[in-house]
Amino acid sequence: MQLTHLNTHGEANMVDIGDKEPSRREAVASGRVRMAPATLELLGAGELPKGDVLATARIAGIQAAKRTAELIPLCHALSLSKVSVDFTLDRDAGVVKVEALCRLTERTGVEMEALTAVSVACLTLYDMCKAVDKEMVIEAIQLERKQGGVRGDYQRSRTPLVTGDGTPGEVSLGERCELSPCVKVKFLAELRERVGTSELSLSLDRLQSRDVAGLKAALIAQDASFAVLEEPRTLCAINQVMANDAALITDEDEVAFFPPVTGG
């Protein structure tokens, strides 16, 4: 992996994008401001001394996106076609969530613009509320996704609270497979992070034997990172019941792989 903003001597270098074709690009970034419940209440009710906090923070974020090139040394000046900044008050988590979207048709990406919009919107929220709450924390400023460009699309992999859908007491088979007959495969917890995906569907025709061992072999043939499935500590469940290598798989089964459990 080469850092594009350093030249071969390790010096800072603005990338020449003149030869790239302009294309449509979009980036979404997010962040949070953690604050006391009382502050969140005042914010929601519009009763903070400096006035309309969210409207002010939104304008600040949009302005900041347009001025990213002045703040970040090696960023190109871009003419953005759209910038939006949205806020969600999450009273249970005690945070204001900030999300910014930037879009344009250009030769370079807009993730720095989206991240700058979120950062400055968060700072403005802080400024507007600091009279009543000095304990606020700005946190988790991150790129959520980007589309377009030569390096392809990026989507932050969620580390979900729960893995997959389903309500208590109900077996979830998830979405129906597009291929038929097929098996739906889930990867949970640490295993999801190691293989880099949370779920996929596979045609049963790709399995040499229609059992767990056959599924593992087909996945490993598809991508070497699935070799982790062969480790003895990796566990497996079919339709949410523990299963071993010899267990048979039938159409539309849900097979989950996961590490040893650590609850309690």
Binding site: L161, D165, G169, L188, A237, P259, V261, T262, G263
Partner: protein, 153 residues
């Protein structure tokens, strides 16, 4: 004897320590003992400075596994009822994670049933802990001592 009452809940919200207690006892006078266990988040575990914990689970399978463990306990000991409440999501040190109540006519059944439930839960129920510490985040490794504890039964 009527069927044992089994109450299993997986939730994000905090719970009260007496949650499920009244439901276990309601309308019966044959219960002589209720044993309760509470598991809490420690601020030291695999690293000395744990700042938070995120618990992930496998919805559907989790509830089924907890229900099975409670039913096994009721089959082995003369329990009149079992409550298992397990939290998921982000928790802070000192927060309760899990609560187990076991009720029986005589205390020995309740003590042993509760002990059994926790040992089996820790090795069978599909929950995974990720610890957040000052040094970074990591998935908690399974412990050999937990497997040994479960093997006692």
């Amino acid at each position: 004897m009527s069927d044992p009452r089994i109450i299993v809940t997986v939730q994000e919200a905090a719970f009260d320590l007496d949650e499920g207690y009244a439901a276990l006892l309601e309308g019966r006078c044959d219960i002589g003992a209720v044993v309760g266990f509470t598991g809490l988040v420690r601020d030291f575990n695999e690293t000395p400075e744990v700042t938070a914990l995120t618990l992930e689970h496998y919805p559907g399978m989790t509830e089924r596994a907890l229900g099975d463990i409670a039913a096994q306990a009721c089959a082995r000991w003369a329990l009149t009822g079992v409550v298992i409440i397990h939290r998921v999501g982000r928790l802070a040190p000192g927060d309760p994670i899990v609560r187990v109540l076991a009720a029986s006519a005589h205390r020995r059944d309740a003590f042993e049933g509760c002990d059994f439930i926790m040992d089996i839960l820790k090795t069978r129920a599909p929950f995974w802990k990720k610890e957040h510490s000052t040094g970074g985040d990591y998935w908690v490794k399974e412990r050999e001592s937990d497997a040994r504890d479960a093997a006692r039964w």
